[in-house]
């Protein structure tokens, strides 16, 4: 899923303070699962903002609603009535949702309430970790299911740098060395030969470096 976290409240206040009414729009997708921008978080954010403006004696109204996903047109279009009632929209979706709302509602400000962090997994209650670099050309079959592109701090494709020690990355003892993980896993799978071969330079044109990407699935297009 896409993992996000709420922006500092002061930053959000600065975005919305010129408006008197906003729609706080939650998203039922990834950000609900990572507890950043679902129904609960959207309501909490709306209350927080109302409290702040109450304290400042400024008129400020909120409508709060949450849609299934902010990255699909049918759901995004379903809030047209609510959007029409307010000065601006504060989206608690990831960056995709914010943009998709903006695209669908020209002439209306749509603000991001979250910082979108990464594509990751739930490691334990309240902890998420990055797992995919969205590079466009998966090599996990060569590295035993551990991605060096995103989990090695330097995206090295041919083994660990000199800073790998005791299984940890030189950047921080909080970060596991991806290459230690790859080595251990391939060793246990009896497949170390995979990383003895030199991996050629990566084709970054398949990643964002080739410009913004699009995926088309012809068989479902009408």
């Amino acid at each position: 899923m896409i993992v996000a976290e709420r922006k500092p409240i002061e930053e959000i206040i600065k975005m919305v303070e010129k408006h008197e009414s906003i729609l706080v729009l939650g998203c039922g997708g990834c950000v609900t699962v990572c507890l950043a921008g679902g129904e609960k978080e959207a309501e909490q954010l709306a209350t927080t903002l109302r409290l702040y403006f109450q304290k400042e004696n400024k008129p400020f109204k909120t409508i709060t609603t949450t849609i299934t996903r902010q990255c699909d047109p049918e759901y995004v279009k379903s809030v047209a009535e609510e959007v029409a009632k307010v000065d601006a929209v504060l989206s608690t979706a990831c960056g995709v949702g914010v943009q998709f709302m903006a695209e669908n509602y020209p002439g209306k400000w749509v603000y991001p309430a979250l910082n979108t962090k990464f594509a990751g997994a739930n490691l334990e209650l309240g902890v998420w970790g990055e797992r995919c670099g969205l590079c466009g050309e998966c090599i996990l079959h060569l590295t035993g299911g551990v991605c060096p592109v995103i989990r090695c701090s330097k995206s090295l494709l041919n083994g660990p740098c000199g800073g790998s020690q005791n299984g940890k990355c030189e950047v921080s003892s909080e970060i596991d060395c991806a290459w230690q993980l790859i080595y251990d896993r391939l060793k246990s799978l009896n497949s170390l030969d995979l990383i003895l071969k030199i991996q050629p330079p990566k084709d970054w044109s398949k990643a964002r470096d080739g410009g913004p990407r699009k995926v088309v699935k012809e068989e479902v297009r009408l």
């Binding site: 041919n158 083994g159 740098c161 921080s172 290459w179 330079p201």
Partner: protein, 305 residues
């Protein structure tokens, strides 16, 4: 002999090679580099210029290499993968060669979080092994990385790489060294050695795979300036600092002298380790001590080519 490098010639002739590191200044004063080069000229066979080491902005390694060359000393320029993509790296290789630089050392590069611009974006378009391949491709295949031919004046570098016998996974270190040699590395510079026992185990594995016959290995030496420096290094990623060295430094009346003594003893020992083709002295911010160490380790005079 594949290249015009003086360093390659010395290795090929079987000399016990001595190189030293010069850290370029954090300003645009080329004279600082030239001064070091003049001081070291008669004591070492080549000077290694760091490339924004620990991700701190410094005078560029190529420009520093040019200053060293102007003083008649053979420069080895470091090139890290952190700050340039394949376009920038190849362009700088052409530029460095055009200035008369003949040796290059390819490295991954310290992560930018260690340096003075921790909010920088890193590049790592290539890793060090792919960079080695690229330098070799420019030279041996007369092609850019993309496969486009270089019609004339291809850069013909003597290619170096680094390996850290003190990093993990330990068993993979020698295999990674082999990958580097496979990619085209002709000489290898190791991380500075304090844990001689681990280094010897590493060299044993190197010899088992015959790697010492496929590349010249320079053992890394760092003279300790103080017990405090030794303790600090204990916490540097990728270093092993045994307690007995810290204790020895702490007990010493003259810590600088003790640091020199340890370095000299290590060099004496390394001369007899099979597969070690020379030493690389990294006297961090203490370049002036290099001649003293070289002399006391009995490495003078340096050979003429």
């Amino acid at each position: 002999m594949i290249t015009e490098s003086r360093l390659e010639k010395l290795f090929a002739e079987g000399h016990f090679v001595v190189t030293a590191e010069i850290g370029p200044p954090k300003n645009s004063n080329g004279e600082a580099v030239r001064k070091h080069a003049r001081n070291l000229k008669n004591y070492i066979d080549g000077a290694n210029l760091t490339d924004n080491q620990t991700a701190v902005v410094r005078l560029s390694s190529i420009a520093a290499g040019f200053h060293v060359l102007s003083e008649g000393l053979d420069p080895i320029i470091q090139m890290t993968c952190r700050d340039r993509n394949r376009i920038g790296l190849q362009s700088d290789l052409l530029g460095a060669y055009s200035l008369g630089i003949r040796n290059v050392l390819a490295l991954t590069g310290d992560h930018q979080s260690f340096g003075n611009h921790p909010t920088a974006k890193n590049v790592y378009d290539l890793d060090s092994i792919q960079l080695i391949q690229t330098i070799k491709k420019l030279r041996d295949e007369k092609q850019f990385l993309s496969g486009e031919p270089i019609k004339e004046h291809e850069p013909r570098f003597f290619i170096g790489a680094v390996e850290n016998p003190f990093g993990d996974p330990f068993e993979f270190r020698v295999l990674r060294l082999e990958k580097k040699i496979e990619a085209g590395a002709q000489f290898i510079q190791t991380q500075c050695i304090f844990d001689m026992e681990r280094f010897e185990r590493f060299m044993e594995m190197v010899r088992e795979r015959g790697l010492h016959e496929r590349a010249y290995i320079l053992a890394g030496i760092t003279p300790l300036k103080s017990a405090k420096a030794a303790k600090y290094m204990k916490n540097v990623a990728g270093m092993i600092m045994p307690d007995h060295i810290i204790e020895r430094m702490e007990k010493a009346e003259d810590q600088k002298e003790e640091g020199v003594k340890i370095a000299v003893e290590m060099i004496e020992h390394l001369k007899n380790v099979k597969g070690v083709a020379g030493v690389h002295i990294m006297a961090i911010a203490w370049e002036d001590i290099v001649p003293v160490i070289v002399e006391r380790a009995g490495l003078l005079p340096r050979p003429e080519v």
